[in-house]
Every structure is written in structure tokens, then in C-alpha cells.
């Protein structure tokens, strides 16, 4: 089954057209990466899917259902987003517990207490963190909370916007392992924006390379690993990445 399909997606902010003709199909259970130039519209694509960038034309459909332009409660249950910046995405005056209970309260789910406890275990956060405020958590712990919040409603599709770029390598490794495990356990579908090709190689099955608001290439991760991307821009990214690692 197709988890997410974007067809001829053009996204606008007022007068400015940000993306041009985006076409992507992601199968259920797949992990798909969106890489490319800074400012090319990767986050914008995620925002349009989530409903935070309502001006678009073309079509977005998730699990066979076409998506409306705004945020809607029903869609929220299937699809959640994790933001790039763990410092900016948690409410500074809410404890971890309050942050995690909120989606349950919105959707009138019962047994909030038990669900919060379960999710903390799932993302590997000790119980002692439950009543802390964000400023008492490290960047990696905050990002775990953000992931836990996204998983609270048991969505099937997770939109990840550079989930590890603000984290140090060892915490990045923890989060990547966590994401990989959760995907396996809960059969999640990922659409992940990143600029880090090694991360793509570790976590993803396919990738799309974006530049100037267009997708220039869609490839299998196997091709990335072999260094066999075709487009010149993709090759440039790949070459710089391997030069650093070299």
C-alpha cells in the first residue's frame, strides 16, 4: 500500500513559489530521505504534508486519502512531525509529562498515565525525566521527548525534519538506533529530511535529492552506498561527504 503520494506538488508562500512539481510515492513501511540544498524547500514539503503550509496545488494523499489544505484532527492521528530543533520544539513551561499527555487529552484518549509511561520506555527515557522541564534536559533527551510526543497518537507516518542535526554524534547514534528500532517494532513509514548522507545510508531505503525547489533525482540507497548517483548535483554532495570522511 502507498503510505504517501505527492503529485505535481507546487507550494507557495504568498507570491513566491517554493517548490515545483514534486512527485514522490512512498510505500508503507518504507524509510524515504529528502536531501538537498539548504533553502531548497525540504522543510516546506514536510510542512505542506502536515498542514502548516496550506498554500499548495497538486495533490497530497496519505494511505489513499486525499489531504485537505489545513490541519485536521483525523489526519493528525495518522501522521506526525518531529522538528529539527530540539531546543525550540518543546514548550518551555511544560513538563515532559504535560507535553506527552496533551495529544491524548486533545483526542480524548483514556489511560493517559499508562500511555505516557509506555512511551517513555519505548524511547528509552528513564522515569525520572517524566516531571522535568525542558531546560533540565540535554539536547538528545529533548529530541527523544519530541519523538515520543509524535508517537503518542500511534501514527503510521512520521515526518522527520533533520531530527539529529542539532545533536552530537553519540546522541545522534542513539536517536538513529531508536528510530530504526521503532520503525521495525511499529511498522512506521518515515519521510526524513536530512543533509547528512551517511545518516541516509544508515536509516533509509530510498532518497530524493532536491535543489531549487525541484527533485533532481530519486535513487535507492544501495546506489548511494555504491557511489552511483547519476545527477551532477547529487554527485557533488556525495563527493564532498566522502571527502570529509576520507
Amino acid at each position: 500500500m502507498i503510505a504517501l503520494s505527492l503529485q505535481n506538488l507546487d507550494i507557495f508562500y504568498g507570491e513566491t513559489q517554493i517548490t515545483h512539481n514534486i512527485n514522490v510515492e512512498i510505500k508503507e513501511g518504507e524509510s524515504f530521505a529528502l536531501v538537498g540544498e539548504s533553502g531548497s524547500g525540504k522543510s516546506t514539503v514536510l510542512k505542506a504534508i502536515a498542514g502548516l503550509a496550506p498554500e499548495w496545488s497538486g495533490s497530497i494523499s496519505a494511505f489513499g486519502q486525499p489531504r485537505s489544505h489545513n490541519i485536521d484532527q483525523q489526519f493528525a492521528k495518522h501522521c506526525q512531525m518531529v522538528f529539527q530543533d530540539p531546543y525550540g520544539s518543546l514548550h518551555p513551561r511544560k513538563t515532559v509529562d504535560a507535553t506527552l499527555s496533551e495529544p491524548l487529552a486533545i483526542h480524548g484518549v483514556s489511560n493517559q498515565n499508562g500511555r505516557v509511561e509506555d512511551i517513555l520506555v519505548a524511547v528509552g527515557l528513564d522515569r525520572k525525566f517524566r516531571f522535568r522541564y525542558p531546560h533540565q534536559l540535554s539536547g538528545g533527551q529533548r529530541q527523544r521527548v519530541a519523538i515520543a510526543r509524535a508517537l503518542m497518537l500511534e501514527p503510521k507516518l512520521l515526518l522527520l525534519d533533520e531530527p539529529t542535526s542539532a545533536l552530537d554524534v553519540s546522541v545522534q547514534a542513539e536517536i538513529l538506533n531508536l528510530l530504526k528500532r521503532l520503525r521495525r517494532e511499529q511498522n512506521l513509514t518515515f519521510l526524513m529530511v536530512t543533509h547528512n548522507l551517511p545518516v541516509v545510508s544508515f536509516l533509509c531505503d530510498r532518497l530524493a535529492v532536491m535543489r531549487h525547489g525541484r527533485i533532481v533525482e530519486i535513487a535507492d540507497v544501495a546506489e548511494l552506498k555504491r557511489g552511483a548517483l547519476k545527477e551532477p548535483y547529487s554527485r557533488e554532495l556525495m563527493d564532498i561527504s566522502s571527502a570529509h570522511a576520507g
Binding site: Y13, T16, V35, G36, E37, S38, G39, S43, Q84, D85, Y87, G88, S138, G139, G140, E162, S165, A166, L167, D168, V169, S170, V171, Q172, A173, E174, L176, N177, K180, H195, N196, L197, P198, V199, S201, F202, H212, L224, K225, R226, G227, E236, L237, M238, I240, S241, S242, A243, H244, A245
Partner: protein, 276 residues
């Protein structure tokens, strides 16, 4: 004489449970070179950077045995004197640009303000300078981006705007705290080139704080590895790969590879090096 001499630098925060040192007596010198600082989250990298500018917020305290910048003893500089040093002679790119930019002012206005505090310029000239600055950091349509608010620009653009603002006064020392973590590798390389140009041409000193060990080892001259407020290892950038300290080795092992085959990445095992 070095540009920056630091001996036994400490940053202390009082907490209800007693004082904690988040930077515990580190010493290093910096010439007109590129010094990288790496280390895990919470190891005190940002605090070190802020301490150099005396930007640690109360109740935090900074102390040091030697703390000299270009011959000036920073320890007994008044807040007023520090303000004239900050920005003009030492500037810092803060870790989270979106937090550091003013959310209710456009990007263009903020850069213009940075220009104006530096020198008096006519209106037209400022507009042009703002646009050239944005172009210099590889922002494609400066006209449009200058009119956007911080929440309307992409993560990477925010970082580039910060870098542009900090380079305007042509400081002698630039402290860059994770300046490029949200940039794709290609733009990252170009932006680093701009910084590099100032290092080479003007002899600017650079402290480059980052968690990207690969990047630091290929871009910097020298590297300090920090862990819980101390420097655990110091080496030439090229030798990072041969680092011996288990902490450094642990960090290196946690980096995914371009042709990754491991099913699970190793994470730091803190028990092995916590010793002492």
C-alpha cells in the same frame, strides 16, 4: 604573543545542591589559526565560548589564572569595555540562530543594524551591503530573503544570516558555535571558505565548535576534545583519526559512514573512561 591565552578557565554555576563547575580549569592558546572544539552535548563547549566573551549569565561565574586577548587582560575588563570588544574584536555565532535572531524584525533590518553599529553609512549603501552580505553566504535571492522574518527562512539560511552578521565587523577572533550544523555539505563548504578567507587574509583567529568530527578534522588546524568541562585530548586536526583516548574513539565510532553496513551504531559507553 598569542591572540588568546587562557589558563585554568572555570565556569561555575551555583545550584541548590552546591556549586557545579561546567568548565573545569581548561587551558589553551590560540594564534591566528583555526581551532576546533569537539565533544558530546553538555561537555561545556558553548560555555567556553561564552566565557571568552564574558557572556555567562548570572548567577554563573567565570574565573581564570590567565585570561588574555591580544594582550588585554579580560578578567578585569568592565562590562562597558567588554561591550566595545564584543562584536568589534571578538564575535560569536551562537548555537541556535533562530533563538538568537529577533523574531519580530526582518532579516534585512537585523543585518542593517549590525552594519550601522559598526560604521555610519548612507541608506542606499546599507541596502546594497545587506544584499552583498547575503549573496556572499550563498543566499540565492537576497532581495526577497532580506524582507523575511526569522521564522520564514529555512534553518540553514538562519545560520548563514548569523554568520554574515558576525563577519561584518571583521573581528580578530570569531567564535563559531555549531555554525553550519543545518547546512548541506555543498553550501557548508562555501560558507566555510568565506570564514577561511578572513582567517587567511586578515589573520583572524577562529574557534570552531562543532560535533561534526569529520568536518572539524578536515577544516581546522588543531582540535581540542572536551568532556564534562575538561580537555581530554588535544591534537593536530589531521591526527584525529588516530586519537587514543577512549572517549574520542567512542565519538568517532558513533559516526555513520557513507556506505554504512552496521545495523546498530555503537553509542558511548561512559563507564570506560569516566574513571578518575
Amino acid at each position: 604573543m598569542s591572540l588568546l591565552e587562557i589558563e585554568n578557565l572555570r565556569v561555575t554555576f551555583p545550584t541548590p545542591k552546591g556549586n557545579i563547575d561546567v568548565v573545569r580549569g581548561i587551558s589553551f592558546n590560540l594564534d591566528r589559526e583555526r581551532l576546533g572544539i569537539v565533544g558530546e552535548s553538555g561537555s561545556g563547549k558553548s560555555m567556553t565560548g561564552r566565557a571568552i566573551l564574558k557572556l555567562i549569565r548570572a548567577p554563573g561565574r567565570v574565573s581564570a589564572d590567565t585570561f588574555r586577548f591580544d594582550g588585554i587582560d579580560l578578567r578585569n575588563q568592565s562590562e562597558k569595555a567588554m561591550r566595545s570588544i564584543r562584536g568589534a574584536r571578538i564575535s560569536m555565532v551562537m548555537q541556535d540562530p533562530k533563538f538568537s535572531l529577533n523574531p519580530v524584525m526582518t532579516v534585512g533590518e537585523q543585518i542593517a543594524e549590525a552594519l550601522q553599529t559598526h560604521k555610519r553609512l548612507p541608506r542606499r549603501e546599507i541596502r546594497n551591503r545587506v544584499h552583498t552580505m547575503l549573496e556572499a553566504v550563498r543566499i540565492a535571492d537576497p532581495e526577497r530573503v532580506a524582507t523575511l522574518y526569522p521564522h520564514e527562512i529555512s534553518g540553514g539560511m538562519g545560520q548563514r544570516v548569523m554568520i554574515a552578521m558576525m563577519l561584518i565587523p571583521e573581528p580578530d577572533l570569531l567564535i563559531a558555535d555549531e555554525p553550519t550544523s543545518a547546512l548541506d555539505v555543498s553550501v557548508q563548504a562555501q560558507v566555510l571558505d568565506i570564514i577561511d578567507e578572513q582567517v587567511k587574509r586578515k589573520g583572524m583567529g577562529l574557534i570552531f565548535i562543532s560535533h561534526d568530527l569529520n568536518l572539524v578534522s578536515s577544516y581546522c588546524d588543531r582540535i581540542l576534545v572536551m568532556n564534562s568541562g575538561t580537555i581530554v585530548e588535544e591534537c593536530n586536526a589531521g591526527d584525529l583519526r588516530n586519537a587514543t583516548h577512549p572517549y574520542t574513539r567512542g565519538l568517532i565510532a558513533a559516526i555513520p559512514q557513507l556506505n554504512e553496513t552496521r545495523d546498530e551504531l555503537p553509542v558511548l559507553d561512559r563507564s570506560t573512561w569516566v574513571a578518575k
